[in-house]
Amino acid sequence: MKFLTSNFLKCSVRECDRSNENFPLKYNGEKCQLEQDESLEFNPEFLLRIIDRVDWSAVVSVAIDLGNSSLPSSKPEFTSEDLSDEDMIILKDLHTLLIKTNIVEGEMSCRNCGHIYYIKNSIPNLLLPPHLA
């Protein structure tokens, strides 16, 4: 699962929708095994479109879960027509974090109900036991 996908996944339990704690999930850094997929090429325009849709505070919080506390607290802003060299450096870093970083094995939990979800073979499993479904 790409780091980026963590930005779209909340807890599957319906009751947790009433809380603000069901997104993002809390990633267990010790149990998460990361890999860099070097085959994914850097495409600044593609990335800018994605950054538009990203919940930045969730990016920061999951990055911290996974041991990276170097992100700025507010979303970097770019003017897409005119990207400076500095912009390109930031975008490349974001490409590495959001697109290339793959969570191969891992564990994450809901901050509200505490249910634990697993990532196996890069695929997150959001299924629920019957008492939570």
Binding site: S12, H115, I123, P124, N125, L126, H131, A133
Partner: protein, 437 residues
Amino acid sequence: MVKKYLLFMVQTHLNFRLAELESLADLFGVKTVDFSKYDEGSPFFIVELENDAQARAWISRSILTRGIYEYWGQGTTYEELHREIQANPLFKQFKAEYRNSTFKFEFDSFGGSSSGKLDRVACIESFKYLEFQGKIRMKNPDQVFTVIEEYEPLSDNVAGEKALRMFFGREVQKSDRLCGALEKYDLKKRPYKGTTSFEAELSLVSANIAQVKPGTVMYDPFAGTGSFLVAGGHYKALVIGSDIDGRMIRGKGSQTIKANFKRYGESLQFLDVVTMDFTHNALRSDFLIDTILCDPPYGIRESIKVLGARDPERFVGKEDVEIDGKKAYLHRDYIPTKKPYSLDALLDDLLQFASQRLPLNGRLAFWMPVANDENIETVIPLHANLELKYNCVQEFNKWSRRLLVYVNRGDGFQGPTNAGLERSKANFRDRYFSGFN
């Protein structure tokens, strides 16, 4: 100022062809086409467009056409064709514009062929009044001029030998079909596929009618082996899929959905597939999904199941079971139980989800099979916020499947709804396995 163009289409999937053309015209802001002149029985459609750029945008993605040409003339004989070309009000302008271009001639036909009886060199010579001065170049010429002959087939499968009419034009854009899309996505050559994989042609057509756009997000809630994800990726959307059956989306060894995207050189378009019950959705509610495209399960090759216990009594207290001091359901290899669900309820959920997640004018497209019994009425699911835009039928022997396409019109639309009703009286699975008797 508009100009005439000749659209050359394929005579297959006629139920889908107009929907594809209209959807692509709408997607690219092509407003000058008079669709009331469209004839399902003909592979030719003469349209008016503002310029070549519009023609290119409109047809470059099309699967059910062959190409679009600047219209120079037509005739029932070559003599008439030449007279018509020279009588075209733009003839002088055409001549001047392409006077020094490198060029070549191509021949295409529909419904038959001259089977070698047409002397192509002599035919090309007969156009000498065009007075082209440019070099003839077989590879990458500036312009390709095309003669298209229409034959009357002797029967459905027997090619005709007598040309009924011929068209002449300058090629502006070949369709995605002619640029190799069907070969590229041919299931036979796909690394990972399964019994539920959807064929390349109609999955690409579906993506066109659903107006999948570059740089937007497409979601398939019943991803299976990822056929529609691949189609969405081809049109440069960022695609995400989910499926309640983890085995399907996982693949086997090197045969995975991810590997398919790699093969197609579209890895960047593939976000992820997640194991998830669509009805217990884990995509955050403010995550904008531009298009939903899918083939829901119908119980033929895969059953309709959602999370939960079929017999809840059997599971009372099971949440307290512990293994090695840890709740059983929190173990990494825990497999939750699932219960059967009705197709009507699943489709109601899908329409409701689409109405909540799609932007205004965003499209939901999905496939639905129906038995062709005369005495059973097919009821199409409807939602108050969604306009049913297309209902395209693909006929098989005793059953058919439909591509249903909805446009999200928002709360103000207040269209008819039949949510919560039992629409399908006869279970499609039962009908299928009893041979529709």
